[in-house]
Symmetry: C2
Subunit: 321 residues, 2 copies
């Protein structure tokens, strides 16, 4: 059954010389320098949601994690765990979506693995993707690189993905016109680095949202990060849904957004580059990095106060990626 699935569903879609070679490994040409590698297992429930599905999510999640190092993503592996009874038509739809996202990102799926478990021992399909990319010489981008004085930029609106998945589950209790933002950001990021060569930090605010991700960066770099609440972009239906549910959009997961931390003098060019991308039209500066109170994220609120933004304790939205 597994080999039939591979022949029927995966090979026609993911065709490339490495996969067709039929070995248990793929051989890639190395370009020297540093290699970036990242892995993610995807368990989103449901498998299909407004704006995306588990296939697009699995490709974009790993492409983005690799790209956050400043690397050029080159190749992905895909490991499938399928529950008996999964519809072949659903699997084909997911594989189509993976192939489309990989083509958009310009990466190939070079190795794969498929396992099948009995009904009730998984939940439809789980997909692990692991990605490799090359970090061009001289790039030193990472969560530990934020410097006092840097500008903090975000590529667009917060909370879309988490709320889109909630909508698909019917957990909102009302209709809402919210699409997931799931997208490959590697081209946007390459354009940013071209005009902002001293980019210090790139990170996608996924699980735990913007606030939790910025807390990680503040700790890694031993700095504080100050945000202006009024600048943080949130779409109206997301804002409305969050208000009804008691959620704060800055703690909700995104799957197609990137935090960019750059020296102030490179911020305008970085913002302009983001706005050129279909995935960065709402890019905006939301704050800055300071030396005082290291490890903290602070929010200057609309009413003029300052609030400490903690790391999210526990997951408010399980199984959203």
């Amino acid at each position: 059954m597994t080999s039939e699935l591979i022949q029927r569903v995966f090979l026609p879609r993911f065709t490339n010389p490495a996969l067709l070679a039929g070995n248990d490994f793929a051989a890639l040409q190395s370009q020297g320098g540093q290699l970036a590698i990242s892995t993610d297992s995807h368990i989103v429930n449901p498998l299909f949601f407004p704006g995306g599905d588990i296939g697009r999510l699995a490709i974009c999640g790993t492409v983005n994690d690799v790209a956050m190092s400043g690397a050029i993503p080159l190749a992905l592996t895909a490991g499938f765990i399928l529950e008996e009874g999964l519809l072949i038509s659903d699997l084909e739809r997911i594989a189509d979506s993976m192939q489309a996202a990989a083509a958009e990102a310009g990466v190939q799926i070079v190795a794969g693995d498929t396992k099948v478990v009995e009904k009730g021992k998984a939940d439809g399909i789980f997909i692990n993707t692991t990605g490799v990319g090359w970090i061009p010489q001289g790039r030193a981008i990472g969560g530990e690189q934020a410097k006092p004085g840097d500008a903090v930029l975000i590529s667009g609106t917060m909370g879309d993905h988490g709320l889109a998945v909630l909508t698909a589950r019917g957990d909102l209790g009302f209709e809402a016109d919210i699409l997931s933002d799931v997208a490959p950001l590697n081209h946007l990021i390459a354009d940013v680095i071209k005009v902002a060569p001293h980019t210090h930090v790139l990170r996608d605010p996924t699980r735990g949202g913007l606030a939790t991700t910025l807390n990680e960066i503040a700790c890694q770099s031993n700095v504080s990060i100050w945000l202006d609440e009024e600048t943080i972009p949130v779409k109206a239906p997301v804002k409305a849904a969050c208000e009804m549910l008691g959620f704060d959009p800055i703690y909700i997961a995104n799957e197609g957004k990137v935090i960019v931390i750059v020296p102030q003098d490179e911020a305008p060019a970085a913002l302009a580059a983001m706005k050129q991308s279909p995935y960065g039209v709402n890019a905006v500066k939301i704050g800055e990095v300071k030396e005082e109170e290291p490890g903290r994220v602070l929010l200057r609120t609309l009413i003029g106060g300052t609030r400490i933004l903690d790391t999210l304790a526990g997951e408010i939205l399980p199984r959203i990626c």
Copy 2:
């Protein structure tokens, strides 16, 4: 919960600079030349079996797949899907086993991911591992490289792993003293290549066993492979259990064995190198490669006949890796 698990279970065991950096990617130094990459998801049931567990299996399976390219395995990623209710003590035991196997193989776990699903939506734990390695200049090892006249060697006894897992399930219906052979083969393979530099094919006979794996190679290389039944090593308890169950050990999965196909003149040195390894003491020549009847695997039986060995249709032992 996930971040607590990472702090408590994974970081103390898998500690290395790449993981401790706290980014969503790991950066590795490239050594130029070709990169080998392989991925495998592990769903073995039960999690613990005589001679191994899912943790050792997850490390060895991917180390071996990378090594089968002739590459030197460098780094692994690990993606965990955990079912709520999994005992932390079991997870710790699995992580210990992974660390021990990785240390034995000389590879590091440089990036990881942990997802938790509700009780009943997985089966304890699933582990994806993806590995990268460097293929030294000039190596061209792969399933398509077998040449007429080559010798076919195997590093040891057939069927141990599959039968060990069956034993652990209580599916045998009787007691049997059978241990899984799960082991990292990269050092054994490096020793073989050193003395048999024209090694054409390396492949581990996992799912579908020796017969299915050789069929893949015969097709890829457009050759036939002839085996002598009497030379194929099978341990007595495995042979006995297979006879009772109606299984053929050459269709049963192994997790610590490698098929080595080399020119005849390099076969003695390759065999001697294998026998030096604790994982190759029963290494033996089992057949040769021929030009006629391409794509077929043929067995010269004990009673003097010749039997075509087909690819296994379907899995006779599900969830053994």
